[in-house]
């Protein structure tokens, strides 16, 4: 049903039903400001104390004409009174600002879920752009399958804002705040944080503040006053560990992490990088931190990015380079040099869908092989992976700690899901973070030749930096004699050096924590995961244990080398299941090393795992009945169309 009423009508207060958690999604045209809307909802919910996890769905890297399927932009928010680890599977509520948004998002709304549509944008032209020949909002099936609310957002907003002195174009830009206000009402959120945000953001434009305020309020009133909505919901604050929080996206946390690592090791931070989706924002964030002594260098290409990083590392800075799959491919030769030079640096790969240019805006875990063994010659390097947006911070510190301890480049893997997803971060006290010790040999008057490849107990070589009197030395990419570092072609020396470089990297296992396991120490099934699938795997395994299954979960942080105790752990379970967003790369490495028949659960769709998918697979592995795949209502399928149209 629809209406244009806006005057608050005094009504009996509506019923409020409590919920443990909810997953909602705002979807509209790229121009509709859906990201900001969801962002506001996220912050407000966070301030309210819910645990939250969000995941955006930007349009692919191309721009698309307004109202088309390709132009749809959406953002999902999962908020809860318990600790949560994923942005949620099926949607409890979906807001669509136009037909294209309906078509590309409907499929994810659970049966009986709330569907709010701005019916004013369902005109003939809009329907055509989305490829509907008739108005889906009129189709009975939507009414039957979901709680459908057709709202004349445009009309109402124009109405309430007509005398703000803004033109229609500007007024229409406030639609999203109407939707936000309505959803705030639906989940009993306070308007104040957003009003504050609006006041700050548009401090100089009072009429814009006014219009947005009215729109937000009108949305709230709409829920409160019209009898469209029978009841609203309440999600209690979560019991998070005490402390101060803020929501962070993965790339943002990575930027903060490397910055902190630099300070903790008393180093200047150098970033040599070439922009690439989805890694660019790390470069963009760090370039804001000049006053922290951060030097960002936007190189002419990825090869210059990694080699300038090598130069900066030789100079004694904390040097890092960031990219994604195709860019990392280009860095391969340079990384080989860094391995030969045995200089500390971080190579950060925010993975995306491949191969080649592939799916730049989608997530994937298919660069693990490339990270661990994707170079010419025997060129071992430690590989670590982030598991969630906030954890990127810790992973960065850990990666740099190992890099300087062992004098080696370290590959740090993230992915598009982590990079753009967000969750609350328990803000640490910088002064309480452990320092990262770095030693540079001091000046020498001895006049003796300095020995750049003389190693310590873990086989690390000294980090002697130019400018240090008496330590002049030359390094390079040709095989070198151990200790002296002089060019050397001796057969035995080469084998010795190959083994030494490998052993050094193996030694990393001595300084990383033993692998921990959630759930039974032994049992029927161990889920072994890495990277961004942490949340889904953890949630799924916990759910299975609640169903009484003997399922444990081990999440790897270090992919190379593996924790010392991993082999023993794997032996303790009848089955090992390795879910990955690739065709089985970790599985291959685990099978080769431990000769166990690890099973894979693999999805290569540019999308994260749904928790339910994992639960089903785990049950299948244990030979148990699985929830029948919710077979799709044919008519819905009709209306939903396929993402293919989103070209």
């Amino acid at each position: 049903m629809s209406t244009t009423t806006v005057e608050p009508v005094a009504t009996h207060p509506k019923h409020v039903s409590p919920l443990p958690s909810a997953t909602i999604r705002f979807a509209g045209d790229s121009g509709d400001g859906m990201q900001i809307t969801a962002d506001q909802f996220t912050r407000t919910s966070a301030l309210l104390g819910n645990d939250i996890a969000t995941f955006p769905d930007y349009p692919a890297e191309i721009r698309a004409p307004r109202g088309t399927l390709a132009g749809v932009s959406a953002m999902q928010v999962h908020f809860s009174s318990d600790e949560i680890f994923t942005p949620g599977d099926a949607l409890d509520a979906l807001v669509v600002m136009n037909p294209a948004a309906l078509k590309t998002n409907l499929r994810d709304l659970r049966k009986g879920g709330i569907l709010i549509a701005n019916q004013d944008n369902f005109q003939k032209g809009d329907l055509d752009l989305a490829g509907y020949d008739s108005d889906p909002l009129q189709s009975q099936v939507l009414e039957d399958q979901y709680q459908l609310f057709k709202v004349s957002m445009t009309k109402i907003v124009r109405e309430v804002c007509k005398d703000t002195g803004l033109g229609t174009k500007e007024i229409d830009r406030c639609k999203n705040f109407f939707a936000l206000g309505l959803v705030y009402w639906l989940y009993g959120r306070d308007l104040e944080p957003t009003l504050r945000f609006v006041r700050d953001k548009f401090a100089t434009k009072p009429e814009i503040v006014e219009a947005n305020t009215r729109a937000l309020q009108a949305g709230w009133n709409y829920g409160e006053t019209t009898d469209a909505f029978a009841s609203s919901y309440k999600i209690e604050p979560a019991k998070l560990p005490p402390g101060t929080y803020k929501t962070v996206m993965g790339n943002q946390a990575l930027a903060l992490g490397v910055l902190a690592a630099a300070k903790l090791s008393g180093k200047e931070l150098f970033l040599g990088s070439y922009p690439i989706t989805p890694a660019s924002s790390i470069l963009e964030d760090l370039s804001k931190f000049r006053n922290f002594g951060v030097k960002t260098f936007q190189a002419e290409d990825e090869i210059a990015a990694v080699t300038s990083t090598i130069g900066a590392a030789y100079g004694g800075a904390m040097a890092i380079t960031t990219s994604s799959g195709p860019g990392i491919a280009l860095k391969g030769e340079g990384i080989g040099l860094a391995i030969m030079l045995e200089l500390p640096m971080l190579v950060i790969n925010v993975q995306r869908g491949g191969p080649s240019t592939g799916l730049p805006t989608k997530t994937e875990q298919a660069d693990l092989f490339q990270a661990v063994i994707g170079r010419n010659g025997e060129s071992p390097m430690p590989v670590i992976a982030c598991r969630s947006p906030a954890e990127c911070f810790d992973a960065a510190l850990e990666a740099w700690r190992i890099a300087v301890r062992f004098m080696t480049p370290v590959m740090l893997l993230s992915d598009g899901y982590i990079a753009n997803g967000s969750e609350p971060w328990l803000i640490p006290d910088f002064n309480k973070l452990p320092k990262i010790p770095v030693h540079h040999p001091g000046p020498s008057e001895s006049g003796e030749q300095f020995l750049p490849y003389q190693r310590d107990e873990v086989l690390a070589r000294p980090w002697a930096i130019p400018g240090t009197k008496g330590l002049m030395h030359r390094i390079g990419g040709l095989e070198k004699q151990d200790v002296t570092g002089n060019v050397n072609y001796e057969p035995e020396n080469h084998e010795h050096m190959v083994k030494t470089r490998a052993k050094k990297v193996e030694n990393v296992a001595l300084e990383i924590p033993l692998q921990e396991v959630d759930g039974p120490e032994a049992g029927d099934l161990l889920v072994l995961s890495w990277g961004g699938t942490y949340g889904a795997c953890r949630t799924a395994t916990e759910a299975c244990r609640e169903d009484g299954l003997k399922v444990a979960h081990a999440h790897l942080r270090w992919l190379h080398p593996f924790p010392r105790n991993l082999g023993d752990i794997l032996k303790k379970y009848k089955k090992v299941l390795i879910p990955e967003l690739n065709t089985g790369q970790l599985r291959t490495l685990v099978r080769a090393k431990f000769l166990i028949d690890a099973q894979g659960y693999n999805k290569v769709q540019g999308r994260p795992f749904a928790v339910q998918e994992l639960i089903n697979e785990i049950r299948k592995q244990l030979g148990m009945a699985t929830a029948p795949p919710k077979k799709e209502n044919a008519q819905i399928a009709e209306l939903a169309g396929t993402a293919a149209d989103a070209g």
């Binding site: 903060l256 006053n291 100079g315 002049m472 390094i475």
Partner: protein, 338 residues
């Protein structure tokens, strides 16, 4: 800082590694000049870094008792850029070859030059790939027959100086391996320039491309085939300095001095001319059509990437104060759980 320097001799700049170039290679003479010049520059050895790529020429760092990196093929300018960005206190030299610098490394060279990073880049041009035994390079003349051009080179060669000038170079010079006095002077000029100093050095590969520069290095011919550029002076050459270069519109032409033509009618060299057009014009002069110029083509002052980067850091600190991580962590919307 240059306390130690004055007392140093060329020998102090020799590393303990034996030099492994072919007997008679032009690289020896360049190495000798470098060792001779550095003590005069007055920068302590530990403040000097030589970065090279791969190639015979790129062995250079191994033979200098300074800091050095023999890196990978073509990447020296990028490595040096990263090094200089974080260590403006160092004097960084890049040694590269016509293959290393202009073929695989062309892009880095280009961008390093346009950013005007404070590096001294020496390109040893022997017009051949020496280390890999005689394939043609981007400076090998058209028609030359060699290992990979059995019927003659059809890849129109690059002119290293034209490229550098096209890439906004602030310092461009040329010298010759065996012209040791001139070479020494040019190295000094490069060392003292602030910004990217790009120097092409004609170098003879006596094994795979012997005599490539004979016209310019042999005393029988060089006076008539080479013109030495001097700032503020007219372009005069010839054994008896009786020939000069005159400008005709935008084209240079050779004229005989005397016979009514006075020095003032000639083209006067100006390293600092407002645009680089003169430098470009000179870079196009080539034997046999014209005498090939050597010397400093262009030397102007321009902002240096590494310096500007440092300035931004200082400016940011001055404006926002030294970054405070706790403040940064706690910026934006935060909330507290008791």
């Amino acid at each position: 800082m240059p306390t130690e320097a004055p007392t140093l001799t060329p020998a102090d700049f020799a590393s303990d590694q034996d030099v492994r170039w072919c007997p008679g290679c032009g690289d020896y003479s360049i190495l000798a000049q470098m060792k001779k010049v550095l003590p005069q520059i007055g920068v302590p050895r530990e403040k000097i870094v030589f970065v090279s790529g791969i190639g015979c020429s790129s062995r250079f760092p191994y033979y200098m008792n300074t800091y050095g990196m023999h890196s990978i093929h073509g990447r020296a300018p990028a490595i040096a850029t990263g090094l200089k960005a974080v260590r403006p206190d160092l004097q960084v030299w890049v040694v590269t070859g016509d293959g290393d610098g202009l073929s695989i490394g062309g892009n880095h060279l280009l961008h390093c030059i346009r950013r005007n990073v404070d590096l001294k880049i020496l390109l040893f041009n022997n017009r051949i790939y020496g280390l890999t035994k005689g394939q043609y390079s981007p400076t090998t003349p058209l028609g030359q027959v060699n290992k990979t051009a059995v019927m003659g080179v059809i890849d129109n060669p690059l002119n290293p100086l034209s490229i550098a000038i096209g890439a906004e170079a602030s310092f461009v010079a040329r010298s010759i391996d065996v012209n040791i006095k001139h070479l020494g002077e040019i190295l000094k000029r490069a060392a003292n320039h602030k910004g990217t100093a790009f120097v092409e050095i004609f170098q003879n590969c006596n094994v795979f491309n012997d005599g490539a520069w004979d016209y310019a290095s042999k005393k029988e011919t060089k006076f008539d085939t080479v013109v030495e550029l001097e700032h503020g002076k007219p372009l005069i050459f010839g054994k008896n300095r009786d020939k000069g270069i005159r400008l005709n519109g935008t084209e240079p032409e050779i004229v005989e001095l005397g016979k009514g033509i006075k020095e003032d009618d000639l083209l006067f060299h100006d390293e600092k001319s407002p645009t680089a057009t003169l430098a470009y014009l000179l870079s196009r002069m080539q034997y046999p059509a014209m005498p090939t110029p050597i010397g400093v083509f262009r030397a102007v002052d321009a902002p240096k990437y590494d310096v500007e980067l440092g300035k931004q850091v200082e400016a940011a600190k001055a404006k926002k104060g030294e970054g405070d991580l706790n403040a940064l962590f706690n910026s934006g919307d935060t909330w507290t759980v008791a």
